[in-house]
């Protein structure tokens, strides 16, 4: 048990007639980063709220750091940090005041709460703006302060619910850096996201969640291998040549989008596929507007995992 930080067995949560969690299972090893990947409405926030004692599950055995989230909520609260989907800060108070407030509520005492606030402001690059009201913070700054607030006591387990949704690329990079710098300190992190890339960047293991249950679990590489890894997109000048291109290119599992004059296929060796496609097109005299390698999108992972991708190919 000592090396399992989060245990979820058959978690159920119902809103009215709708099941937000429908027998969800999860194991997270201590000291690891676990990604929970799923589209809007999959049940990610519900899961995080249950794990952080904000919401009572209807059924299931749910333990955080060896304590039951319902019967031992207080013990769980002593050991967790929470970054909710929306900022949980006092907007009228300054950044430092917020951190001091939360430090006092963690019973650090006045002096240590103040020292800890200064430390965290420094670490999250907010020292200059500590006096400003949170209301005036940018989205990225607010997120960083919120993250700092969830780290007041260096929690054993940290929950991050879509930490970068709604941030611009710079804000996203800032939050990613912060999360990375946390890892290694022994904290267990459970992170939810809608972005495969984010899970890929930050998580050791990923659970793909849909309709309140886990539909796949593994490392990013395992999941991507399952979905065919990287993909190549080729946009032709003439839609009429798509058929010819599919026939001659050294690719399998090709999907075609006639409106966008696009063909797309999974690849295993990135460079070989790229040079092979470019050479084949040149030899056949087919003009391409664009040839690009990319990661599979969440949609593609999803369609694959739910078994719907065959239908997409047939439709194409």
């Amino acid at each position: 048990m000592a090396d399992t930080a989060i245990t979820v067995d058959g978690a159920e949560k119902r809103y009215g007639g709708k099941k937000a969690l429908d027998g969800l299972d999860l194991r997270v090893a201590r000291g690891t980063v676990h990604g929970v990947l799923g589209p809007n409405g999959a049940g990610k926030t519900t899961l995080v709220r249950v794990l952080s004692t904000l919401l009572r599950p209807d059924a299931g055995r749910i333990e955080v750091s060896g304590h039951d989230v319902v019967r031992e909520a207080y013990a769980v609260r002593l050991r967790i940090g929470l970054l909710g989907q929306h900022a949980a800060l006092d907007e009228e108070l300054g950044g430092r005041q917020n951190l001091e407030l939360f430090g006092r509520l963690h019973h650090l005492g006045a002096r240590r709460a103040r020292a800890r606030a200064d430390e965290l402001l420094e670490r999250f690059d907010l020292a200059d703006t500590g006096r400003k009201a949170v209301r005036q913070y940018s989205g990225g700054m607010r997120r960083r302060l919120d993250l700092a607030a969830s780290l007041i006591t260096e929690p054993e387990v940290l929950f991050l619910d879509e930490p970068t949704t709604g941030l611009d690329p710079r804000g996203r990079a800032e939050v990613w850096d912060s999360v990375r710098s946390l890892v290694g300190g022994g904290t267990t992190v459970l992170l939810t996201t809608q972005y495969l890339e984010e899970a890929d960047q930050l998580a050791d293991r990923i659970s793909v969640v849909d309709a309140g249950r886990v539909i796949a679990e593994g490392t990013a590489d395992e999941l991507k291998a399952e979905t065919g890894g990287d993909r190549i997109d080729v946009v032709l000048r003439e839609a009429g040549q798509l058929g010819a291109a599919v026939a001659l290119l050294p690719l399998t599992g090709v999907t075609v989008d006639t409106d966008r004059r696009l063909l797309s296929a999974p690849v295993t060796d990135r460079m070989e596929a790229l040079s092979g496609v470019v050479r084949a097109l040149q030899e056949a005299g087919i003009e391409a507007e664009d040839v690009a390698l990319r990661r599979p999108t969440l949609d593609e992972v999803f369609l694959h995992l739910t078994g719907d991708d065959r239908r997409v190919k047939e439709a194409a």
Binding site: L55, R56, L78, L82, L89, D90, L101, L105, A149
Partner: protein, 253 residues
């Protein structure tokens, strides 16, 4: 965790004080608003139908009670704002004493209402209003006003938890005004149409206003309402305090 009940409640109260320090204008506006109402009804509108003696002597205790009633709005706005901003989620996910969020809210709101009483009584005195009862009766009157405010506070917390979103507050605000004005705060019920007079006499706020006039030794004041001014708020508290606490606990549903 109960060991921290006092510390945490005090921390939560200090949070509100810090907010006042950050937004002093807001605080001053809240304190000045009842004074504006007093001046408006006392001097601009010139009411006081059927009141024996100085209307001012009748009006000021009424305004004190009305100010306590309107405190309900302030409480509701503050609670829905916290719910909306998600900061209550952070409090609830922390190892703090169970009641501290609500106790902090109550302490801060009661303090602000006490300040509003001081300001209004001060302005009244400056306008020449005098209390004719003794100091004990005076403190008793202030006590009844604060007791009434305390009942309004828990009704406010309960309604905020039921309403949830700040958008819903407006709907309730519209109700607070007729309840405030359908009382004897500004005019004698005798001068109103029969059914309205009955409603007004039943309004708990009217009992508080009448009892306060009595304790202040206001000339021509009716006596015998102190009991009702005690029982009504206590009855409201007996209903709404447990409802609010239960509703707060049910945030986890």
């Amino acid at each position: 965790m109960t060991a921290y009940a006092l510390t945490d409640s005090w921390t939560m109260t200090r949070r509100e004080l810090a907010r006042w320090a950050r937004q002093p204008v807001q605080l001053v506006v809240n304190l000045i608003f009842p004074v504006m109402l007093l001046l408006m009804f006392g001097y601009l509108i010139g009411g006081g139908r059927g009141v024996n003696g100085e209307y001012r002597d009748y009006l000021i205790p009424g305004m004190l009670a009305l100010t306590m009633a309107f405190g309900l709005e302030g409480t509701m706005i503050a609670v829905t704002r916290d719910l909306d901003k998600g900061v209550i989620d952070r409090f609830r996910s922390m190892p703090m004493a169970d009641g501290a969020v609500l106790v902090g809210r109550s302490a801060a709101d009661m303090l602000q209402s006490a300040m509003a009483l001081v300001v209004l009584i001060g302005v009244g005195a400056a306008l020449g209003w005098r209390v004719h009862g003794g100091p004990v009766a005076f403190l008793g009157a202030v006590g009844l006003l604060l007791l009434f405010r305390f009942a309004m506070l828990w009704i406010g917390i309960y309604l905020a938890l039921v309403a949830g979103k700040p958008e819903m507050v407006q709907a309730v605000q519209i109700l607070v005004w007729p309840i405030g004005f359908l009382s004897n705060a500004l005019a004698l019920p005798d001068t109103m149409p029969g059914w309205l007079g009955t409603v007004v006499e039943w309004n708990p706020m009217s009992h508080t206003a009448t009892a306060v006039r009595d304790l202040f030794g206001t000339p021509g004041a009716e006596s015998g309402h102190v009991g009702a001014a005690l029982v009504w708020p206590l009855a409201l508290l007996a209903v709404f305090f447990p409802l609010a606490v239960r509703r707060f606990g049910r945030l986890s549903r």
